[in-house]
Symmetry: C2
Subunit: 738 residues, 2 copies
């Protein structure tokens, strides 16, 4: 056993450490008091609603997973276009992601009232509870993700060693087999993420918009008012959207980037070393995150800036640590290619720049949001136009950053001498960016906890100073949510890029499974064992004058828009269902509006849950089926074109929607702070229109696009064997014509 084999154990160790600390933080939080009876009651409503939602969601998704696993078994055991481990790897990926979502949300809903209660004592203790409960989510995601990866790696290694299942694979092929199999585990995580993001996104904004339309606008009662029957559903929505949805999204990116990089490591000719490196970076990333989490604390009477500084201190510490760790790891594992250190650094820097750019375009401290607020003087139409323009122009910096990042990480890893090494560099940049996910996701999950704590304080009518403190924590949460979204999109783009590259490897695996030793298209022939990606691209004609590629790019670009259209309309319908129900309650429950009757919160929660489940199906199916349909019609070149088109257009559209939504949101808040006439005046009403439009932009459609661009690559990965055997109808017809 050489050093690389020993170092591998850093991955499962990091994973266990993460899970251990998650448990520790959870136990610590549970020890605190949840406050008085009314606080407990509100918290219970939210918790029960959230868990009821997840239960319903997992029921639907469970059926979907079983059907999919059945289909994959058919592919593996009957058609033999996929290997026999895939159905199981797929299921574990989905299961662990679901488990992480459940644990994270359970913790978040346990923590909100405790945060409110702690705010009675001090700001710092409230911050500690909220943030460390967020850290439970962060550490659970990285812990379970890394655990699944480590276990499967050990398992597959062992199977091959023992020649179980007739696996007699020559050494040179085993790593290719292992890594391409493990990618299918990511498919499970991806599918889980799709439902969590889309369903959660529809839920949260359906409830929010519905509650606002009928509560604030029609009945004229404030936000978070207990008389509004949809208020609990709204609070539940924050959890299912921003905790479970965001968690599943990043779980997918995390695992996807590690596994894609591992597969690319084999293609780059790094062998075992290339596989192990991303895993151990992730393992030590967990350690760096935990240290960072402990570094977050604040003094009493901290200003907004000081609170943000407290969080940033933790994140920066983790980033510096992980950079030091990876330097050491690369030196030990891959000393012949120290350039990858540059790639990792690139990933870290790209993440920071995209986060900062998001902050600039969505924070009311800077010009763009102030411009949107100013445009409220000429009414809602100009608010919309201005916000759209801000969102669109805000795509420039992230795209240029990702572009420079791709070139730089490619070049650092030696891409100019070998494209395989270069693509490995892009993959490891994504791993680097996501290595500190343990702490960055904590700051994301912190947001809804603080938000719910504020809601709890509002509904239970806490004293002013308590609400001031929860408001301060909540405002901080809005900033972290915005930068978190930028980070999620940026990492999704790099991960998707790595996944598309890894798809080539999966195609090779599919060809081998079909018993081919050479790839022959037209009059071009190459050996399949060749690690030369360029040859593969050339034989398959994946160049930009191939009409299949071009049509794929067009369809991919369109798909992002169609997906947004569907999710936006889904929010509209879900909101309308809530509006009808709240109107019904206001009418039928006597004295409700006067604060005497008791609102039926559960029915709103139920309606939101059911409509989210119903509405998520169609867009999800479209995302899943399109790569298969395009593969059947246009073959491998069409699929790669589709993925690249969806990635390019989807990334830009996602940034646009997230930032436009963020800018509208904060422009409204800026006006509420007293600018341009303040709350309730015409300008404010114009800004509210922008905010309402922005809700599905930033919390449903935009974030769902992250999943779209990754999921389509993953679906293509798992169906690669099928497409090789049965796909490319156009090409086959063409051959006959010819």
């Amino acid at each position: 056993m050489d050093l690389t084999n020993i170092l591998f154990y850093l991955a499962p160790m990091g994973s266990m450490l993460g899970l251990g600390f998650a448990y520790y933080f959870y136990k610590q939080m549970k020890k605190k008091s949840e406050g008085d009876a009314s606080m407990k009651k509100i918290a219970m409503y939210v918790r029960e609603g959230a868990i009821a939602y997840l239960r319903q969601q997992y029921k639907v998704v469970g059926i979907f997973f079983l059907v999919a696993a059945g289909l994959f078994s058919f592919l593996a055991y009957y058609l033999k276009v996929q290997n026999q481990f895939v159905p199981f790897a797929f299921l574990t990926g989905g299961f662990f992601s679901a488990l992480a979502g459940y644990l994270g949300m359970r913790t978040a809903t346990d923590a909100s009232a405790r945060t409110t209660h702690a705010a009675k004592h001090s700001l710092n203790s409230a911050l500690q509870i909220a943030f460390r409960s967020g850290a439970v989510m962060g550490l659970t995601v990285v812990g379970l993700g890394l655990l699944d990866i480590s276990l499967w790696f050990m398992l597959l290694n062992w199977f091959i060693d023992k020649q179980i299942f007739g696996l007699v694979i020559p050494q040179v092929e085993r790593y290719h087999f292992i890594t391409t199999t493990m990618l299918s585990f990511s498919v499970g995580a991806s599918l889980q993420a799709l439902f969590a993001r889309v369903g959660g996104g529809i839920y949260t904004k359906g409830a929010d918009v519905g509650a606002d339309l009928v509560g604030k606008v029609e009945a004229g009662i404030p936000e978070d008012d207990p008389r509004n029957p949809a208020v609990i559903a709204d609070n539940v929505g924050d959890n299912v959207g921003d905790v479970a949805g965001m968690g599943a999204d990043l779980y997918e990116s995390y695992c996807g980037s590690i596994l894609a990089t591992a597969a690319l490591g084999v293609a780059a000719g790094f062998g075992l070393k290339g596989i192990i490196l991303p895993m151990v970076i992730a393992g030590l990333g967990v350690v760096a995150s935990i240290i960072g989490i402990f570094a977050v604390h604040t003094k009493e009477k901290a200003t907004q800036k000081e609170l943000l500084k407290a969080l940033n201190k933790g994140i920066t510490l983790s980033a510096v640590l992980i950079f030091a760790f990876t330097f050491l790891l690369t030196y030990l594992i891959l000393p012949e290619n120290m350039g990858v250190i540059g790639s990792i650094l690139t990933g870290l820097v790209v993440g920071i720049i995209i986060g900062k750019s998001t902050e600039y375009y969505t924070s009311s401290e800077f010009k763009p949001v102030k411009d949107v607020a100013e445009s409220s003087q000429t009414g809602p139409a100009t608010v919309i136009i201005q916000g759209m323009a801000v969102g669109m122009i805000s795509t420039v910096i992230p795209v240029v950053t990702i572009g420079v990042g791709i070139i730089a990480s490619f070049a650092f890893a030696g891409g100019f001498s070998s494209i395989g090494k270069g693509l490995y560099g892009v993959g490891i940049a994504a791993v680097g960016m996501l290595s500190t996910l343990g702490i960055t996701l904590s700051t994301d999950a912190y947001g809804p906890i603080a938000d719910n704590a504020g809601g709890n304080a509002e509904m239970t009518k806490q004293k002013a100073f308590v609400r001031e403190r929860t408001d301060a924590l909540d405002a901080l949460g809005n900033t972290t949510a915005a930068t978190g979204k930028g980070f999620a999109i940026g990492s999704a783009a790099l991960t998707a890029m790595a996944l598309i590259a890894a798809y080539i490897e999966e195609v090779k695996a599919g060809l081998k499974m079909a018993g081919q030793t050479v790839l022959k298209v037209g009059d071009k022939v190459i050996e399949i064992t060749s690690a030369n990606i360029i040859d593969f691209m050339n034989v398959y004609n994946v160049h930009l004058m191939n009409p299949k590629v071009i049509v794929g790019i067009f369809i991919g670009a369109m798909l992002a828009f169609a997906f947004c259209a569907m999710t936006m309309r889904a929010v509209g319908r879900a909101a309308f269902a809530i509006v009808l129900e709240v109107r019904r309650q206001f009418k039928q429950i006597k004295g409700l509006l006067k604060g005497k009757g008791k609102a039926d919160y559960a029915s709103c929660v139920k309606i939101s849950t059911l409509s989210a489940q119903k509405e998520m199906m169609f867009p999800s199916l479209m995302a899943v089926l399109t790569p298969v349909v395009i593969g059947i019609i246009l073959g491998i070149p069409g699929v790669i074109g589709l993925l690249m088109g969806a990635l390019g257009s989807g990334f830009v559209l996602a940034v646009f929607m997230a930032n436009a939504g963020g800018a509208w949101d904060n422009a409204k808040k800026y006006i509420e702070q007293g600018h341009y006439g303040g709350k309730g005046k015409a300008n404010h009403k114009a800004a509210v229109v922008g905010d309402t439009v922005g809700d599905p932009f930033k919390d449903t459609s935009g974030p769902s696009l992250n999943i779209l661009i990754k999921l389509m690559s993953m679906v293509s990965v798992i169906f690669a064997g099928l497409i090789i055997k049965y796909g490319d109808i156009v090409g086959k017809v063409g051959e006959k014509i010819k």
Copy 2:
């Protein structure tokens, strides 16, 4: 002289015929009376404003052209990375496009009052005047475009025959030289189109939104009210945006598709026949258009549907005729590849489907617009969300249609046996789609004439029946405008596609000019005379795993969004300038609002003109410079990636914006017809917000994207030689690292 050489003269003959009939229609129109003094006065204001605008625009553009021609001369005569004809071909392309715009707009502004006056007598005579005046634009565009192409073709042929300028070119090379030179003539048309579309788009919506904001909203006076000082500017805007802008846009597509196809014909190995075929199709297309134009007439008391039928009859007749003509022409010229007939038919069908799809999503007769109107019940925010969703989902049919169209036209022309033939098929599909431009553009240019006739009737307080007739003509114009926009976008996409393919030929020409006989990149070498496009793509590594290509795609996708952001904000600023001026006049001119004072129309026209000129510069420069900058940094693969990314994302974005804007516009009109409470109620106000947002969507940013996707290809074409010699810094640095 063989048959092909003789048939060529159909092109200049068609061109002369088109110009002849344009002159005839113009003279016929001028014979009619312009009505009474007040009608004449209004018409004069609009005419003077429009011509003042064009004069100012051509002054600015003229300087730009001279600078550009100087630069191209530098490239051609000093750096020798471009041939010596290019600066002149470039200038004539721009000049003829400008001339067509001037003549078309002159006619349109002459025709509006005459249409109003004719409406006093009969609906049919009003339709005849408006439509045939629109036909002046249509026939001038195709006539001048084809004239320029024919002249240059004859000229270059002659130069080479006589060996003037030391042009001793072997026969096999001459066609390559001629077609790649002629493409640069398209660059002139493209640049002209950019300024016409962007400047015109900013002008028209700046004036419209500004007039509405301060007139309708602040002062509470109706649209087209002579008390509003911006009313003339608004009417001028219709002409500069929809006549001059649309005309220049399609002039570019028309010439671009013919010239790109000619270049692809050489690459496909068709030689002279491949060059001549698109030209003669265009020539007979003019004849088919003229016959179609004569077929348009209507009975008195025609309903809206019957009017539309009258126009459609003419268009359908032209399409059937041109199909018969092309069958014959292909049989005579290219009998060995009759499949291109299928490609031409594909182009015609694609145009029809995209037009129909646009109608479905933007006409108030169908569900999408009704849904938008219905959403007005829950306020402006839901109107915006619903309209956005309609626009986004409306991209599906056009994209799938274009996709199927690309594959089909590729396959029909023999693409499966030779990629060169296939790309020729895509080019000739675009030519087919645009062959009846003479009549389709007539229906577009008809719109603003009818609109201005209505405005004239309103301002001069004509009797009710006159206004009813002009309203009927105007409503018809709105439908033709919507389908015309769909047609413009669809043809732009196919043309851009052909231009990108032709770019490869331009790169070959650039290599030859650099004295290279073989192309060598890395360890791959091919002969440059080779017609094999695939080899070229492979040697340059223009495949989807090349990071330069990927980054190009990302930047291209982003550019479309950034361009929209800039043009939208430009409209906002231009509108604000008008608001300030109108407010000033209301304040300073005594009795103006009571109908006693005299509004200073000219100052509003001047302000709109100046702000449009100022605002168009930055987005235009971005569009022009980006391909050059990307080429310098990332070389040929980066440029092709950029073009394809911009095409994919830009096409989808353009369809989205045009259709969302159209849906909002007609949802508002639908409510004004008495649905959901009718005019002036809360629902109507919500719909007005949508309409205002939609204005820059559908008339500025969306249409400008057509130009963006074509222009960037054209810019790349003209700088190909420069990029070959000085481009690809990343690659050069990479070589050193390696």
